[in-house]
Symmetry: C2
Subunit: 353 residues, 2 copies
DNA sequence: GTGAAAGCGCTAACAG
DNA sequence: CTGTTAGCGCTTTCAC
């Protein structure tokens, strides 16, 4: 997995010394200076070390179960080879996907990933903890607010950072997906199945993502020549409770209910569906559901929820790759918008004849 | 939150120097030696520093926006003030709860938490990464396998570790919950509601937790004078797909189906319920469901799932507290079993008359 | 009460 | 090709 071959033995250093071996130990045992040992071990550039010496060093290292002390390396090089990722919460599958993508990618490239939750508000303490204490070389940012203030704080940190699934102004690095097009396609699929009264459970409209999804929804309506009915739009935000309440509000309205609803995110959709069940309505016979974001949760719901896939894991991986490249000077910036994923049809959408 | 008072200003060090301030900078500005500055700043013991000097140092530190370099501190003290937590995966709400509990507690006590996924198998590489590279002072372990081999690996690491929601032999530290009693109570509640044919979707029986829950289930049956019917037990494991398949197997059986099923964990229950829906059966009218572990997922399912709460967050917090106490020499060991939580009644269990 | 000095384990010039 | 030297930023004896 991490490149090292099956090293059956226990990782503990059962070398002759009563402690973990240091570079000095290796050097002494190999009969060279520690600087030489360092050179060899880190396989630096055009190996300016005699083959025989190299061998001796490697042997010594192996025998002593030598593992370089990362802390010392960090102090010396002022690079920690770790990345921070900051998300509002870890319970939401959307963020979990991002974390998984980033974490795998980081591991493959030999970086550690420190995960921080902000709990929904910008907490500059979080950044501080990670960066100012020299723990991370760069930041992956997937917090909610995309305000200028946050961008300033981040920029002031003096380490590279990349927004994941977010956007933050002209200069900021980001990896996004084309949410407008995704939401358009999602809504469109509902229209294609004969729906005319399509509700939207939206995110708070000061959020960039929420706005984009709303925009895609409206455009699909418009292109199909359907009227936009504001009474069919409610703000659910991104959580379960919000989805529940927003759906309730729509159901409570007088006038014909929607035949379908396009929800801004998975967890809100779960809440909304619960509301519909509670109202004694059937999904999809009475109301169809379609949600932005795919995930295993979609299969747990009843009925299984049709979703529009967003390649969050890949996006996070790309952001991580880019961040590492930036850190290693192989790259300057990244401003990438990938297409949204496919429509994953399950059982929550009915075709109206 | 982290003790510091509202420090409006940006965390970036806009001090006179073109870089982050070091202890030396502070010392010079305060007109003292860096050792003195260090003493003052870390508020060491019976302050053997004149009040006036203390003040000067604090002022200098503030003006320079001084933040100690944790890496340097680590190297010097060989303590990183960070903890590792290792879980099989981060998508499962059970582990998310553990992570949240540990993470909050760690933060409060000024420790960082490094989260690692093993992806379901013991990966000693993971431990190595965390420990051998001097990144963490101790480990919280919530991986699946509780085999002796793993315990040996962990012990060989030479850092304190605590199992969370796991058990690992007589010597290992752990924070567990009384799962036998919990499972007993859960099953019992089904019996009390008139159920006689109660199925169990179990975890793999080489897992300690799975065994305990199974045991509680059997004991409840026994105490109620109900026969144990092996054809009512299937191994689902802890995931959705497993739950789906296991439930399918039970439904496929000839002979009377169960009227209720007690599931080993939330996610498996979600899968099992999907199977039941697919079979065209109604929950709870045809089959009642009750699951071990509570979480917001329970409210997303249809119908909302009755669960037995397990205080994972608190357990993780207690384990974290204990680990820190051990690291700081205020404690030797911890072997704690807390009671399982309350039955959270939702809509998935029907009372049979 | 405070300063001087040593050194954690490592890397990176710079010599030789 | 390899060794010497000089720290990274901090804590911690040990003197004064």
């Amino acid at each position: 997995m991490s490149g090292r071959k099956a090293d059956s033995g226990p990782p503990e250093a059962h070398n002759g010394l009563g402690r973990r071996a240091t570079l000095k130990d290796v050097a002494e045992r190999a009969g060279v200076d520690k600087s030489t040992a360092s050179r060899v071990l880190r396989g630096v550039g055009p190996l300016s070390v005699r083959e025989e010496t190299r061998l001796r060093v490697f042997q010594a290292a192996e025998q002593l179960h030598y593992q370089p002390n990362k802390i010392a390396q960090s102090l010396r090089t002022s690079r920690s080879r770790s990345l921070g990722i900051v998300v509002p919460q870890v319970i939401n599958p959307v963020y979990t996907q991002i974390i998984v993508g980033a974490s795998n990618c980081a591991r493959e490239r030999g970086y550690m990933l420190l995960i921080s939750q902000t709990g929904d508000q910008i907490d500059s303490d979080v950044y501080e903890q990670l960066v100012q204490q020299n723990r991370v070389d760069g930041l992956l940012v997937a917090t909610l607010r995309d305000e200028a203030a946050q961008m300033k704080t981040l920029a002031a940190l003096g380490v590279p950072f990349i927004l994941v699934n977010r956007q933050g102004g002209a200069e900021a690095n980001y990896v996004m997906c084309d949410e407008v097009e995704g939401a358009y396609r999602a809504t469109r699929s509902l229209i294609d199945r004969g729906h005319r009264r399509i509700a939207h459970l939206a995110g708070e409209q000061d959020r960039f993502n929420a706005k984009m999804r709303f925009q895609g929804y409206r455009k699909a309506l418009e292109d199909a020549g359907l009227p936009f009915d504001p009474s069919l739009v409610e703000v659910s935000g991104y959580d379960q409770r919000g989805g529940e309440l927003a759906m309730q509000r729509i159901l409570d309205r007088t006038g014909p209910p929607p035949t379908a609803v396009f929800v801004v995110t998975l967890v809100a959709a779960a809440g909304a569906m619960a509301s519909v069940h509670r109202a004694g309505l059937a999904i999809p016979q009475d109301i169809s559901f379609l949600s932005f974001h795919n995930g295993s949760l979609a299969d747990m719901l009843y009925p299984p929820l049709t979703t529009l896939e967003v390649p969050l894991e890949q996006m996070a991986a790309q952001a991580t790759d880019a961040l590492i490249e930036i850190l290693e000077g192989q790259r300057e910036a990244i401003q990438l918008t990938v297409p949204a994923g496919a429509l994953v049809e399950r059982k929550s959408v009915v075709k109206l004849s």
